[in-house]
């Protein structure tokens, strides 16, 4: 065996010598192969193959020892030529190799590595498949539902457009129908109509006498049907608002309930047990609950000899939603309207649906300036947002969602609900409603707010929103005050840009797209002014001398007619924003916020890889600022202006002009939307 090692060495030795001589001749290439090539031994290597089989006979241990010995001996023996030998191949020839390579140890090792390689390969494949298969599954990514794609345009019917025929001075279905083209041209696909249900003649809008009829002030069921038909022909969806919490006192249900009719006696919230009487012999309410409008929420019924609960006016007794029959009644009501063709329902005041069954007193929180008889004196832990409301909504949503083609939606107006969604149901997998109005965010803004104020409000809302709930952005409601009055007309376009391009669904109160101010004169709900169609009498709303609702303060300059004519008006900005919502970046993109320039500029980007990105920048300061957007990680050096607010007056910035990211000049309270090719990190 030792001889074997020995026999290898001389061969190399020889090669080394050959090589040396070649080097002398000027060839520096220290390779053996070329040496051997030129040596002309073309065939012997191949023949060796036959010889090499002999190696197999050897045992494993011997094989490895042999080699090491041979190396040692090589070093020992041929010190002088060692360098030359190193250049030469130390490798074994084929025959030599066969002896060692076929040793069972190496054969097994090779097999092991071979199998190990493929096992590892298969394991990685399985791993990759497992990761993909185990990936969280969610609802289909794309086509957004119409109420996700489009803003929901809120129409307060009595102040939108007077059709003239019925009772003059009030907006009605006819009038609304005549303005469908305007709504269609805005680009919106969804209109939420204020309640048209039949109410008691002397009651409020919510004192519903019949949940399945149209109030004669607005028109008839037939007109309603006709309206729906024209809406559909224009590709518009209608959402009908209604308040399920209470009905009119004159509703047949209440009439029967008061008479203790066996079927209806539990349709409303009645006090139980014999009442206590005060010193004057008058019955005492069962607890200290106050109605929203002030005074006790309980009213004595002489007929039934019990108190009924009215969280709103005395004429509007609260329905009892712990009674499953009542819940069922509303399912029927919803079906009735959906049969007429409405695409969704917008339920208002849902936070009041249930009350604490223990009937315990509310705890006073006594903010300054309130008395114990007022609603605000107490906190409302026992009457508002009670557990169980979500369950009712989920039940209703199921009815609505499963109705025929599945394009119907349930929208809910209820301010406090977001908190309760998080607190009680953070692990609920399906949001119980499709849209959840949230107007409290922007109503917190006070005039001369700065960029961080705005950012904080938005972040706070987004942070507390449960993951699967779609954000909604509502600048004002018909119960509040309009942006142009509450804040300033300078903010109209900027806030519309933000509401429209943030992830979520914007909810636009009629008139906010043109920047209407509140109603002139002092009224209970200043936002409820008639729509400013033109600068004609009554803003083009009605022919009658004195309509029920007032005109907006600025209707003479700010109206649909004027803004349609003017380029770059708030109305055109709104339309462009609606159009921008159709781009993938706005529909599905990620968001990134930045407050820059010492709290002056609020900005955010929307990015969906492979699509133009969007940048919204809003200078909240009342002076011009020049800022850089390099804080936003996807914004490249070049920006293309897409939309600028109507009050933007920097020269040189117009739609389609290019901007340099690092010095964008924003005029006082000016806002712009720019597109860009997103930078890849």
């Amino acid at each position: 065996m030792e001889m074997k090692g020995g026999k290898e060495n001389p061969k190399e030795f020889t090669d080394g010598n050959i090589h040396l001589t070649q080097k002398e001749s000027g060839d520096h290439l220290p390779d053996k192969s070329r040496g051997s090539k030129e040596n002309g031994e073309p065939d012997d290597g191949a023949d060796e193959k036959l010889v090499t089989g002999d190696g197999v006979v050897k045992t494993s241990k011997d094989a490895s020892e042999v080699k090491f010995i041979s190396i040692d001996s090589q070093n020992g023996d041929a010190k002088i030529d060692i360098e030359n030998m190193k250049i030469a191949f130390a490798g074994m020839g084929k025959e030599e190799l066969m002896k060692f390579a076929h040793d069972p140890f190496w054969v097994r090792l090779r097999w092991f590595l071979f199998i190990f390689f493929w096992l590892l390969w298969a394991a990685m494949l399985a791993g990759a498949i497992a990761i993909i298969v185990m990936a969280p599954k969610c609802a289909a990514p794309a086509p957004l539902k119409w109420w996700e794609q489009s803003p929901l345009y809120q129409v307060f019917l009595p102040a939108f457009k007077d059709g003239g025929e019925i009772l003059g001075g009030t907006g009605d279905l006819k009038g609304f129908q005549s303005k469908l083209d305007y709504i269609k041209n805005l680009g919106v696909k969804g209109v939420a109509l204020s309640s048209v249900l039949k109410v008691s003649a002397d009651g409020s809008d919510e004192a519903v006498e019949d949940f399945q009829d149209v109030d004669p002030r607005y028109g008839t069921v037939a007109e309603f049907k006709a309206l729906i038909t024209s809406l559909k022909s224009k590709g518009l969806h209608m959402v009908l608002s209604l308040v399920p919490n209470h009905s009119s006192k004159k509703h047949p249900w209440f009439v029967k309930s008061e008479r203790n009719d066996s079927q209806y006696k539990d349709y409303y919230v009645w006090s139980s047990g014999p009442p206590k009487y005060d010193s004057e012999g008058k019955p005492e309410p069962p607890n200290n609950w106050k109605s929203v409008v002030g005074g006790s929420a309980w009213e004595w019924s002489d007929m039934r000899k019990a108190f009924y609960l009215h969280q709103f006016s005395v004429d509007e007794p609260d329905l009892n939603f712990t009674n499953s029959f009542v819940i069922e009644e509303f399912k029927e009501i919803f079906k009735f309207w959906m049969d007429l063709g409405v695409s969704g329902l917008q339920l208002e005041k849902v936070e009041y649906l249930l009350e604490d069954s223990s009937r315990q007193d509310e705890v006073p929180r006594a903010p300054p300036g309130t008395t114990h008889d007022e609603y605000d004196f107490y906190n409302h832990a026992r009457t508002v947002n009670q557990p169980g409301i979500l369950g009712i909504l989920a039940e209703w949503k199921e009815v609505i969602q499963n109705y025929t083609d599945g394009t119907r939606m349930l929208s809910v107006v209820g301010n406090l609900l977001v908190d309760s969604l998080v607190d009680q149901n953070s692990n609920i997998s399906i949001a119980p409603v499709d849209l959840l109005h949230a107007d409290r965010e922007f109503s917190q803004l006070r005039n001369s707010f700065n960029a961080s104020d705005l950012n904080k409000i938005i972040q706070k809302y987004l942070d507390k929103l449960p993951n699967d709930t779609r954000p909604t952005w509502e600048l004002s409601t018909s119960l509040s005050s309009r942006v142009a009055s509450r804040l300033s007309s300078d903010y109209v376009d900027a806030l519309n840009m933000i509401a429209m391009l943030l992830p979520g669904t914007p909810i636009t109160l009629y008139g906010e797209e043109i920047g209407m101010e509140d109603a002139s004169g002092s009224v209970k709900h200043p936002a409820r002014c008639v729509m400013s169609w033109s600068n004609a009498t009554n803003a083009g709303f009605s022919e009658v001398p004195v309509p029920v609702y007032h005109t907006s303060k600025n209707y003479e300059t700010v109206n649909v007619e004027a803004e349609t004519a003017a380029a770059g008006s708030s109305l055109s900005v709104y339309r462009e924003l609606v159009e921008a919502r159709n781009t993938p970046s706005i529909m599905y993109g990620t968001r990134e916020f930045a407050v820059i320039g010492n709290d002056t500029v609020f900005s955010f980007t929307r990015i969906k890889s492979g699509n133009p990105g969007y940048l919204v920048a809003f200078n909240t300061a009342d002076k011009e600022v020049t800022v850089s957007f390099n804080k936003l990680k996807h914004v490249p050096e070049e920006l293309n202006v897409l939309i600028k607010s109507s009050n933007f007056n920097s020269t040189g910035i117009k739609a389609k002009s290019k901007l340099n990211r690092d010095s964008v000049c924003l005029s006082a309270r000016g806002a712009l939307v720019a597109t860009f090719v997103p930078k890849v990190e």
Binding site: R34, K49, G53, G91, L97, P136
Partner: protein
């Protein structure tokens, strides 16, 4: 037979081995050896003309034309100028490739630039002479090619994952990254295995994938032509509107265009495995490079017909957007084509670099086991495994595009140096038969292009990464001096060689010049 074999061998050991082994030889030879007539231990000439063309096409058309053909467009600013740039880049590549074809016939050895540097400069100086070839091998073998393989196989993985994008979209970005890396590693394992196991298998797969790749290109081209025919010429008629006037942008447009064509020298890096190289190498180049130029040109026309300039620039993968736009339900063809194309490309790049590895090992510029070939499969197994491991390492480490950036300008330095070698060898090796010769202006022209292309990135985007390139070359020299020039060899190398030999059943090749 046995006796004859021994006779040819070194005189010193002949008798001894005969005495020791002759009794056992006959017992085992039948089991372990192919019964075919004995062959030499060397890489076979397996590549015919078709395969050689496919090799060039395979390396040239990677993912670039599908994924990011827009950078030339972005720089040039207009449709017309961009198409001119593509055509010019194709012509430059053809000239370069023709010069390499001559080199390939003068130096009929594998390794491309490496072999030419060796031949032209090797004898000029004891120390400095072999250095260019060593640096060339060092950069290609250790960094550039394995990093390219890693990047391309990651692109492959991206497109393999595409059908599952629906399932993966809610996964956190990190796990998506992990899945992609795993799939990249699977692809790498597969292609390394192919190169390890058989050259024939490689050729078959390469030919199939090459055809699929061309098919995907043709789908795009005909899609574009169809749109043109139905009168969709709005984008193309913009012509030269918006052309850049800045020389820097023009230079950068050429720079990115030429990158898309890189790979035209590939066939010369495997010269020793091409059948009748003196005929097939020039032919394959004459066929493949104009073919690729035409394909690129027509694909750009197709893209520009269907997509606007901003759409092309913004698209993450232009061909996919294109496919979604016009192929309807057949749009899966494009991602599939990209996946096949990238796999074939990585396969071919690895194939060619293992040959460089092999040649460098043979010449003593790399660990010598790299030059050993498997005794039955006749593949350079250690070189393949090493390249597989390097690419594996690069995939695991991640973020390697910058690595390629900093080393890639060296490629053009090598091309330039190869042209100098060509001119030099016209002088020093006058008498070698040149079956084919390019006019002298071609190599001179390519030298200028090469200078231009190394300086463009340095001037337009001076960054410290070029010092990293120098640093890396410095490391190469630090290795060159003791290990190659002074031929110091650590003791453990013998054990290592032995280990690799018995583990992989590899033996030194016996190269012959034929």
């Amino acid at each position: 037979m046995v006796a004859k074999a021994k006779c040819g061998y070194g005189i010193h050991n002949q008798n001894v081995s005969l005495a020791a082994n002759s009794t056992e030889v006959e017992l085992d030879s039948g089991d372990n050896l192919p019964t075919k007539p004995p062959k030499k231990m060397e890489l076979r000439r397996e590549l015919g003309l078709f395969s050689a063309v496919n090799l060039i096409v395979g390396v040239m058309i990677g993912s670039g034309i599908f994924v990011s053909p827009a950078s030339a467009l972005e720089r040039s600013g207009s449709v017309g100028l961009c198409l001119i740039i593509w055509a010019v880049c194709g012509s430059i590549s053809l000239l370069g490739a023709l010069a390499f074809a001559e080199l390939g016939t003068v130096v009929p050895r594998s390794g491309a630039e490496y072999a030419y540097f060796q031949e032209a400069y090797g004898g000029l100086h004891r120390f400095w002479g072999p250095l260019p070839s060593f640096i060339c091998a060092w950069v290609y073998v250790v960094i550039l090619r394995p990093a390219e393989v890693a990047v391309i196989i990651l692109t492959f993985s991206e497109y393999v994952c595409q059908p599952f994008a629906y399932h993966m979209r809610h996964m956190p970005a990190e796990s998506q990254e992990i899945v992609k890396k795993i799939i990249a590693l699977l692809g790498l394992g597969l292609l390394t295995y192919i190169n390890f196991i058989s050259v024939k298998l490689y050729i078959h797969i390469q030919n199939i994938f090459g055809s699929c790749k061309l098919f995907a290109c043709l789908v795009v081209i005909f899609g574009g032509l169809y749109e043109l025919c139905i009168g969709n010429t709005e984008n193309l008629t913009k012509g030269f509107e918006g052309s850049t006037t800045s020389p820097t942008n023009l230079a950068l447009a050429f720079y990115s265009g030429l990158w898309a064509f890189d790979g035209w020298s590939t066939v010369t890096s495997v010269t020793e495995e091409v059948k009748r190289p003196e005929v097939n190498i020039p032919r394959s180049i004459i066929i493949a490079v104009p073919l690729v130029t035409t394909v690129y040109f027509m694909m750009n026309v197709a893209y520009m017909t269907v997509l606007t300039i901003p759409e092309m620039i913004a698209a993450p993968a232009v061909a996919v957007v294109f496919g979604d736009r016009i192929l309807g339900v057949m749009n899966f063809i494009i991602p599939l084509g990209v996946a096949l194309s990238t796999f074939g490309c990585a396969l071919s790049i690895q194939f060619s670099v293992t040959r460089l590895c092999y040649v460098a090992g043979r010449e003593g510029h790399m660990v010598e086991v790299f030059s050993y070939i498997h005794m039955k499969r006749l593949t350079p197994a250690p070189a393949v495994v090493t390249q597989g491991l390097l690419a594996f390492f690069f995939i695991i480490v991640g973020d390697i595009t910058s690595l390629i950036d900093f080393a890639s300008f060296l490629i053009w330095i090598f091309y330039g140096a190869a042209m100098v070698a060509l001119i030099l060898m016209r002088k020093t090796k006058k008498d070698i038969k040149r079956p084919y010769k390019v006019p002298l202006w071609i190599p001179v022209f390519i030298i200028f292009i090469a200078l231009f292309l190394c300086f463009v990135p340095i001037i337009t985007d001076p960054s410290p990464r070029y010092f990293f390139a120098l640093l890396f070359i410095g490391i190469g020299m630090a290795i060159y001096a003791p290990l190659v020039y002074y031929r110091h060899r650590p003791q453990c190398m013998d054990k290592f060689t032995y280990f690799i030999q018995v583990l992989m059943e590899v033996v030194p090749s016996e190269q012959s010049m034929d």
